[in-house]
Amino acid sequence: MTLLIMMALGLIALAALFTLYRLVFGPTNADRIVSADAMALITTVILIIIAMIFGSSLYLDIALVYSILSFVGVIALARVIEAKIQNNSLNKQGED
C-alpha cells in the first residue's frame, strides 16, 4: 500500500462518513433513501479496494452481489412509494 492508495482510502472514508451523517440526521425520509443509495455504491467501491489490498479476487464477486442487492432494494423502495401514492389513504405517511 503506497501513499496514494492511503490517501484514496482516507478520502473514501470521509465520503462514507458524510453519507452516514446524511443517513442518520437527514431532514426527510427521502434524503435517507438517497444517501442509502449512495452508501451502497461507496460500499461497492470499498469492497473493490479491499480485494486489491488483500490480493484476493473473491471480494469482486461480493461487490457485484452487493451492488445487485442494493439496486433491487432501491427499485423496491421506489415501487413502494409509488404504490403508496396510488392508495391515497396512505399518502400522508409517505411524506415526512
Binding site: 503506497t2 490517501m7 438517497v34 444517501s35
Partner: protein, 108 residues
Amino acid sequence: MQLAGEIILLIGAIFIFLGALGLLRMPDVYNRIQVGTKAVTLGAIGVIVGVALLHPDWWSKLFVVLVFILLTSPVSSSAITKAFYHSGIVPWKSIPKSKKNKDKESSS
C-alpha cells in the same frame, strides 16, 4: 503502469469525496440525488479502472462490475426521483414562493 493506476484510483476517490460533500451540502432532495448519483458513479468508475490497471488479471470481473454499475445507477436514481416527484416533494426553486406565502400568512 503502477503509478498510472494509483493516480486514476486517487482521482476516483476524489470524485467520490466530492459527491459525498455535495450530498452533505446540497439544499434539496433532487440536488442530492444529482450529486449522489453522478459524481459517485464517476468516482466508482475511476476506482475500478485504477484497480484494473493495478491488477490486470482481474479485468473481466472488474469489467462486469463496471458495466453493472453503469447500467443500474442511472436507472435506480431515475426511478426513485420519479417516485419522489409523484409523491409531491416540491423542487428547490419553489421554496422562496412558499416562504413568501408564509410571510404573507404571517403578515396578514
